[in-house]
Symmetry: C2
Subunit: 318 residues, 2 copies
């Protein structure tokens, strides 16, 4: 008999839902903007409405990937800074009450890591690090075919590797010198907002034509770099350097076969791949030089597939 | 029936051998200075002579902990920089030929980590990082009661976390800015050699009385600090800061319950504990603030006990 679950990727901006068959086939998928200024119960309503739009009798349960910090053992969201009111929300219990089905909660970066490992570019690899470079930086680790969680379920907080201890560049976490403060999408956005005054007159005109009067962001940096805008290209070269510096520490610590780059910033991989690989070569001990860096595949669905596979695994064990 | 093995800790300066009973009792133990300027076969002779001094008929095999890099799957020492001639030495085969017994080879930091986890201060902990701060810096990780090895058996190369990317301070590995270049025993030795000209006239006299004309080292720094020598105390305060900076990254990456500090430098823990804990508090995200830092117990025997327990585990599985 075929087994299905509902996979939910609860993001700060997008709420994605899919019906996933055991084995990784997506039968349907929907996404909406997450209600981020209301109550958690309104988001639960959104989930229920999306599920109700595809009535199915054969659903085994619900698998939820969410940003943290979470208490996955108790099924509680401790806090989602980008969603109003999401503090100490017992999401597992709330969904169980609505759907009368078992619910699994997992960290979104771990879900995406598992998705890449089981269905994406990390397939057939025993040791893999997934690094998501988005608004922030996070990650998940597969070591010897096991998912690493740590004692608090908080392993893979790579955004807070200390990269520049003497720095006064503040991270979103409030600390100074974190990897995330240098190499995240937010860091790129901040640089983008200063780029209107960079380069030649022609480049400033080019930049203004691209950005207009709206706030500049990493997306503009990517477009400008592809159009040959030299200051933007320089930003991406430095981005590759910062990413490589963090990745070097990760590789020396975890000794993976590959590092998979996901998250929005990874979509611009071609803009920074050269400088990343060059810097990594400079920073890695020779024993680790055959580590491969891969761009994640199917970023939009990897988290859904990953958390669904963890749900089925959990069901089979219990 | 009781099971025994011979555990060998092949260090760059000391060669330690013990007869270890399954369960962790040491029945006898010997150590000699490792012959470090001859041939690998002379060290094999040393091992054989030490074992022959306690003839036993009930030995199941030999468990060897050695510094790396190693190829533990093939039982080969790829290189031991501190021992002449130790390049691509098939130590497992050599010992098997001599003793007609099965031989297991394991990284010395992983052996010590397992020793602390099974018999030392990490007992009853599911997630632990062992950090050895000695001539270099290395480590081993226990995650969810599994020993982390990585795909090349090289996980836990913490000495080469990139701590100061902009630095021109060279590490023993040839790269710049590694954790080891700042916080290892070698780094302390280098500072100690400059300390004759530091502080007041009285402190310079005190330092000279302690060191004499020999080369100053971390050992003198520890003695001087305990005697109230302010420049030496300042060095240890900074040592605590550097260690905390590396440990903060390790904790965010692995999410352990505790970090166990071993190696020669850890013996001076009281000299740098305050500044380490203070800096760590500054660097860690609140979610990780209950991580505990522990001084390793039984440093001289933890590696022997750890590698012996891995040997018995391997025997039971095969």
């Amino acid at each position: 008999m075929k087994a299905f679950c509902i996979a939910v990727d609860l993001g700060g901006s997008q709420l994605r839902i899919a019906k996933v068959q055991k084995g990784g086939q997506i039968h349907w998928q929907r996404s909406v903007s997450t209600i981020n200024e209301g109550q958690p119960s309104q988001v639960i309503d959104q989930i229920q409405a999306l599920v109700a739009s595809h009535p199915d009798a054969d659903i085994r349960g619900i698998a939820v990937a969410a940003p943290g910090p979470l208490d996955t053992r108790n099924g509680t969201v401790l806090c989602i800074p980008t969603l109003a009111g999401w503090e100490n929300v017992a999401i597992t219990r709330l969904l169980e009450e609505r759907f009368k089905l078992p619910v699994l909660l997992e960290n979104d970066a771990i879900s995406a890591a598992v998705g890449q490992w089981r269905f994406g570019v990390g397939k057939d690899v025993t040791d893999m690090v997934y690094l998501t470079v988005s608004t922030g930086i996070g990650g998940g680790v597969i070591s010897n075919n096991h998912v690493l969680r740590g004692v608090r379920g908080a392993a893979g907080h790579f955004g807070h590797l200390l990269l520049y201890p003497d720095s006064t560049t503040q991270c979103a976490c409030g600390k100074m010198g974190c990897f995330e403060a240098y190499a995240s999408g937010s860091a790129l956005d901040a640089i983008a907002r200063t780029l209107h005054s960079a380069g030649s007159q022609q480049e400033r005109t080019q930049w203004h034509a691209l950005v207009g009067n709206g706030p500049a962001s990493a997306i503009h940096l990517a477009q400008a770099a592809m159009d040959g805008h030299e200051p933007a290209r320089g930003v991406w070269r430095q981005q590759g350097v910062y990413l490589a510096q963090g990745i070097a520490s990760i590789v020396h610590a975890f000794d993976p076969a590959c590092v998979v780059l996901g998250g929005g910033v990874s979509k611009s991989y071609s803009c920074f791949a050269d400088s990343l690989l060059e810097e990594l070569d400079k920073r890695l001990m020779p024993a680790f030089s055959n580590v491969s860096i891969k761009q994640a595949s199917g970023i939009e669905t990897a988290g859904l597939l990953g958390v669904a596979s963890l749900f089925f695994e959990h069901q089979d064990c219990s």
